[in-house]
């Protein structure tokens, strides 16, 4: 019985492309099995993990996941709380009980807490099968954002932008002297001096472009050392 892996790590493959033949391999994320064949289920980057062949997603809009920290924008205020845009196909609900650790009095003007147009950092607490989403703002780091600007990046590149245990983003914050919050939904908040902001945006876009190249961390370190921010 033949068993052949036809691609190697870091190959770019298109939907339907033949990745492996034979029953000796397992179809991982982003792939599917058709008889003896393992095929790509989307455009992706090959990752061979032992006998499992999976694809790293390169593109695609954000899909809310429980536990994610995301940056949202309030677009509606009603009796039970706020509705927010999540930079995905699905708006989320921020209910009264999850909004803040402060006490919200009955009949209070909710816009005093969060108003239409406010940007907030929140956490996804629940996603139903219909993709109805609940978010909460009770927790460390969850807050209303004031000032600053928000840029959009490819949600699939967020892990690279954050880096291992936040190392990459920490490096950028220190070099540019900016406050930066990265949302899993591909929205990044940056606040600092204009020169620092320009460099921060530049670097983040660079990471987005070169996310899968090796030696990225060193290149970014070198780039940041060249641009000094007062």
């Amino acid at each position: 019985m033949t068993n052949e892996v036809l691609v190697k790590d870091k190959d770019i493959v298109v939907p339907g492309e033949l990745l492996a033949e034979g029953m000796g391999n397992l179809p991982g994320q982003g792939t599917y099995r058709d008889g003896e064949k393992i095929l790509a289920a989307r455009l992706g980057l090959v990752q061979v993990d032992g006998r499992t062949i999976k694809l790293k997603q390169l593109a695609g809009r954000y899909l809310p996941k429980t536990g994610d920290t995301i940056i949202c924008k309030v677009f509606e205020v009603n009796f039970s709380g706020w509705r927010v845009e999540t930079n995905s196909a699905y708006p989320a609900m921020l209910s009264l009980k999850d909004a803040t650790s402060s006490f919200i009095q009955r009949g209070a003007d909710l816009t005093q807490f969060y108003d239409i147009g406010d940007n907030v950092v929140c956490q996804v607490t629940n996603v139903t099968s219909q993709n109805l989403v609940d978010v909460s703002m009770k927790g460390p780091g969850l807050r209303k954002l004031a000032g600053g600007r928000i840029i959009e990046v490819n949600t699939n590149k967020v892990p690279r932008i954050i880096g291992k245990q936040g190392s990459m983003i920490q490096m950028i914050k220190e070099a540019t002297k900016c406050n930066i919050t990265v949302g899993q939904n591909g929205l990044v908040w940056i606040d600092g001096d204009i020169d620092g902001e320009i460099v921060a945006v530049d670097v983040i876009k660079k990471i987005e472009e070169e996310a899968h190249q090796s030696g990225l961390t060193d290149r970014i370190k070198e780039y940041l050392s060249k641009v000094k921010v007062k």
Partner: protein, 259 residues
């Protein structure tokens, strides 16, 4: 209301004399103009300003002139904000934004005398050339107004008249004859105001927080041919003069991009 945070931050940044992308307040993004991009149009152009992209095509037809101008040809300008070019645009007939774009481009071309309509007459009272100009957004990254006008302008310069034997038009055979265009090269520049700052070539983000804008069409010698003020905030006469002066100054850069 949806953008009050953005507005505040942009004002803070503009005070430093720079913008989010590092440009100065009176800097255009990179401009490129390509002509003859589609063979089916009699004249066409693809204009890029930064990542904004607009395609314009001109089709020529022979028709009966309007009864009050029996010896003049004419233009009809259409503008489409194609849903392909932005998540904000929908399918359907042109909304007010597209209509304004078309009318401002039309005014710029018509009122400047860029086209000599009398020279577009074939047979008085019977047959005149009509130039049908269509501008379509291909990617909206802000400042569609200037990109649309520049594309229409370049497309008109690119036109070669199809063969007309007096009775029938043969689109398959293009003559070497061009449209009767003046050498004044009228160009449109849009100048915007955010807070107390005056700038040109707004990006999408800047476009969200504009207080007022003026689109100015001017000839090479600085003569003004058309004006359009937009958005809700009123302007003082001194501000208008300042913005118009900037527009006339910057039109030289756009003219340079056409070669």
């Amino acid at each position: 209301m949806m953008n009050k945070n953005l507005y505040g931050h942009i004002l803070k940044v503009l005070k430093s004399g720079k913008r989010f992308d590092g440009r100065g307040l009176t800097d255009y993004r990179k401009i490129s103009v390509e002509t003859g991009v589609t063979k089916t149009a009699e004249g066409s152009a693809l204009v890029r300003i930064g990542e904004t992209e607009v395609m314009a095509g001109v089709k020529l037809e022979v028709s009966k002139p309007y009864p009050d101008t029996p010896d003049k040809g004419t233009i009809i300008v259409g503008a489409e904000l194609l849903p392909l070019s932005s998540p904000e645009f929908e399918t359907g007939p042109p909304g007010i934004k597209a209509i304004e774009l078309a009318r401002v481009v039309d005014r710029g071309v018509r009122e400047s005398g860029f086209l000599d309509f009398k020279k577009m007459c074939i047979e008085e009272g019977e047959k005149v050339w009509t130039a049908l100009i269509d501008v379509c957004s291909m990617n909206d990254a802000g400042n569609l107004m200037d990109a649309c006008y520049l594309a229409a302008f370049a497309a008109l310069k690119d036109v070669r008249l199809p063969k007309f034997d007096g009775e029938k038009l043969d689109y398959k055979e293009k003559t070497s004859k061009k449209l009767p265009l003046s050498a004044d090269d009228p160009i449109s520049v849009t100048v915007v105001k955010i807070g107390e700052h005056i700038l040109i070539d707004p990006t999408i983000e800047e476009g969200k927080v504009i207080d007022a804008r003026i689109t100015v069409n001017s000839k090479k010698d600085g003569t003004l041919c058309a004006l359009q003020k937009g958005e809700e905030t009123p302007l003082m006469p001194e501000e208008i003069v300042e913005m118009v002066d900037l527009a006339v100054e910057k039109s030289k850069e756009l003219r340079g991009a056409i070669k």
